[in-house]
């Protein structure tokens, strides 16, 4: 087992808004091993993007604030180091790509300019060397005529090509970890497959770890080595991808998997999980899934289940498996 690259320990990130305190990320712990692809899965609003942004320390304060926990990157707690040191890590050792390629690139600067920036900033390459490296990167992400593309503007490229440019930008300084926040959600399926293949290929070539945030179980199945399922700001289950898909433990994970259409099984109605994601403001001490879970017991509505080891490399946070009534 390769060494742990990133370890989240009881991370708490709250947002202080007019309507009250939103506990977006509430006591989250998990780790990412070097060279491994960890997928963070959950409905929108469960805190998966906030977790990533907390890792990058890009939470806008006000109104957001990281109130507790640690994020260890190669043993260093990123929450304690000075902003200037953090800035050296961003884009250099940890890189990030976003969901919306159409608006993630600066419309008034050439694509090449935006690729060269991190190079010039972090690797102190000269302009001409940076330009050569940028052309290499554009070719690596699979875009033809790289030498022309480098001088073109974002609005002249398609959505897929822009996402490739984003990837080129993120890989410019050979980061150890690449965070991809729903990289393919905004793209159509064919492009989505190409981008995922590209990411898998690049991860293998560079032995880079990948933290992939998505709500699409298809992507998880295809890419993930390890899966972390989040719900209402908490991790409710994690484990190797085969375990999670073959033997889901937490009722919410089961619900998610059932909701996925399976080829060959014709059904007149897809399964839906009743109820809605709870309002993030004023979450009680109960298991947040209790009011939607059919196995909900009194204990569930009273207190929160802790995240317990459950099998070789999996964990689950549910009173069903709390040793009490293990079915």
């Amino acid at each position: 087992m390769s060494s742990t690259l990133v370890e989240f320990r009881n991370l708490k990130t709250y947002f202080y808004t007019e309507a009250g305190v939103v506990q977006a990320v509430n006591d989250v712990s998990f780790s990412i091993r070097a060279g491994e692809t960890v997928c963070i899965v959950g409905e929108s609003g469960c805190g998966k993007s906030i977790t990533a942004m907390s890792l990058m320390r890009l939470i806008a304060s006000p109104p957001g604030k990281i109130v507790g926990g640690e994020i260890l990157f190669e043993g260093r707690d990123l929450l304690k180091i000075k902003e200037s040191e953090m800035r050296m890590i961003r884009g250099n050792e940890i890189a990030m790509i976003f969901q919306e390629p159409m608006t993630s690139l600066n419309p008034v600067l050439t694509v090449g300019d935006q690729i060269m920036e991190p190079l010039i900033e972090h690797t102190l390459l000269s302009k001409s060397e940076a330009r050569k490296k940028a052309i290499q990167l554009i070719e690596q992400v699979g875009i033809p005529r790289a030498d022309q593309i480098i001088d073109s503007y974002p609005h002249e490229l398609s959505g897929g090509m822009r996402q490739r440019i984003m990837i080129a930008i993120s890989l410019s300084c050979d980061p150890k970890l690449l965070i991809a926040d729903e990289p393919t959600t905004a793209l159509d399926v064919t492009i989505q497959a190409q981008i995922l293949d590209l990411l898998r290929q690049l991860k293998k070539d560079r032995n880079m770890s990948l933290m992939l945030i998505t709500h699409d179980l298809g992507v998880v199945a295809e890419m993930a080595d390890y899966v972390v399922v989040m719900y209402a700001g908490k991790v409710i289950e994690e484990g190797p991808v085969k375990e999670i898909f073959k033997n889901p433990r937490h009722p919410y994970t089961k619900g998610l998997l059932l909701a996925k259409p399976v080829i060959g099984q014709r059904k007149e109605r897809l399964f839906t999980i009743p109820g809605q994601v709870p309002n993030p403001i004023g979450l009680g001490e109960n298991c947040h899934y209790s009011d939607r879970c059919e196995h909900a017991m009194d204990i569930c509505r009273a207190s929160q289940p802790a995240l317990q080891k459950d099998g070789a490399d999996s964990k689950v946070a549910c009173w069903l498996y709390e040793g009490e009534g293990a079915k």
Binding site: M56, L58, R87, M88, I89, R90, G91, N92, A95, M96, F98, E100, T103, S104, L105, N106, P107, V108, L109, E117, P118, E121, H122, Y153, H155, M166, I169
Partner: protein, 321 residues
């Protein structure tokens, strides 16, 4: 880019003609002419007044007057200012550059201060600094110009005599070179302060509004994710996009550089073109007024073409249209 320029130049010809007709009508519609002034004289007779009007061709039908005037204009002859009894071009030349001197200093000061103050206010939105800046900016904008002028004159020139009482140079000064330069600077300090204070408000708010818009964009977050210095993120990525709509505002300032500030020049006794034009309006000095307004029309058209060109340079999305 060149193609856009040519198209706009061709378009400007009908505009110029349209403008010249409108300018001509606006002034001839204003009742009375400079001869009316003379009629107040005791020994003037009606025949004499008609003679003078005939000499200046004011008795011709309107369209004829317009054609003669336009004819001269095209040959560069702006006609003779009736008030100063000198060619219009020389009157404009003597006074316009004094107005230009103040206007250019105010423009530079105004844009520097407004950009810094506006951006800082946007970065620290809803902070004390932001509301303090907003309050001061609104206060400065809320004074009528002559009110602020008199207030400044009272404090700085009369009570504490830090600055001179108006005018452009000390009386009878025979200074040259740097000494003369500082003398003029001392004299233009108050008008510059007044004009900067008056104009700074709206520009600061435009900077703040645009900056607020741009800061929330995704590409600014991407820039930060790249680990660029905050300074680079704000001034390279954010500011360039925030400046786009303001380019048009900057271009619109160009004609203002030459038109002079009527009220401020009057209060500070500054020999600018604004004051001369004001007298021209009240004494119906048509040649001067029409000549000067046409100059402003040309300047405005040039400024707008410049604005669109600069917009094209700044915003690639619009460039190749």
């Amino acid at each position: 880019m060149k193609q856009l320029l040519i198209r706009r130049l061709i378009q400007s010809i009908p505009t110029l003609i349209g403008a010249s007709i409108l300018v001509f009508l606006v002034f001839t519609l204003a009742p009375g002419d400079f001869v009316t002034q003379m009629s107040a004289d005791a020994n003037m007779t009606q025949e004499r007044l008609d003679e003078i009007r005939a000499l200046h061709g004011l008795d011709q039908p309107l369209y004829k007057q317009y054609l003669t005037w336009m004819g001269n204009l095209l040959t560069g002859n702006f006609g003779e200012s009736v008030l100063h009894r000198q060619p219009v071009t020389s009157v404009i030349n003597t006074f316009m550059w004094n107005s230009f001197l103040i206007a250019i200093i105010v423009l530079v000061l105004q844009w520097i201060i407004a950009s810094i103050v506006g951006i800082m206010a946007a970065l620290r939105q809803y902070s004390i600094y932001d509301s303090a800046v907003t309050l001061i900016v609104f206060m400065a904008m809320s004074f009528p110009s002559f009110f602020l002028g008199l207030l400044m004159l009272k404090f700085f020139a009369v009570d504490y005599q830090i600055f001179p009482l108006g005018g452009m140079r000390s009386t009878g000064s025979t200074l040259t070179g740097w000494a003369d330069f500082w003398d003029v600077m001392k004299h233009l300090a108050l008008p510059v302060i007044v004009l900067t204070l008056l104009n700074i408000g709206s520009l600061t708010r435009y900077f703040r509004t645009n900056m607020l818009e741009v800061i929330r964009q995704d590409y600014v977050r991407t820039a930060r994710a790249k680990g660029l210095k905050e300074r680079v993120v704000i001034f390279k990525h954010a500011l360039r996009n925030a400046l786009l709509p303001l380019i048009t505002l900057f271009a619109l300032e160009i004609p203002g550089l030459f038109s002079g500030a009527i009220i401020t020049e009057r209060i500070f006794n500054w020999p600018g073109i604004g004051r001369v034009v004001l007298d021209g309006i009240f004494q119906r000095d048509y040649p001067l007024l029409m000549g000067f307004t046409m100059l402003l029309v040309v300047l405005t058209i040039v400024a707008n073409i410049l604005a669109d060109l600069m917009y094209g340079v700044a915003d690639p999305r619009v460039r190749n249209r």
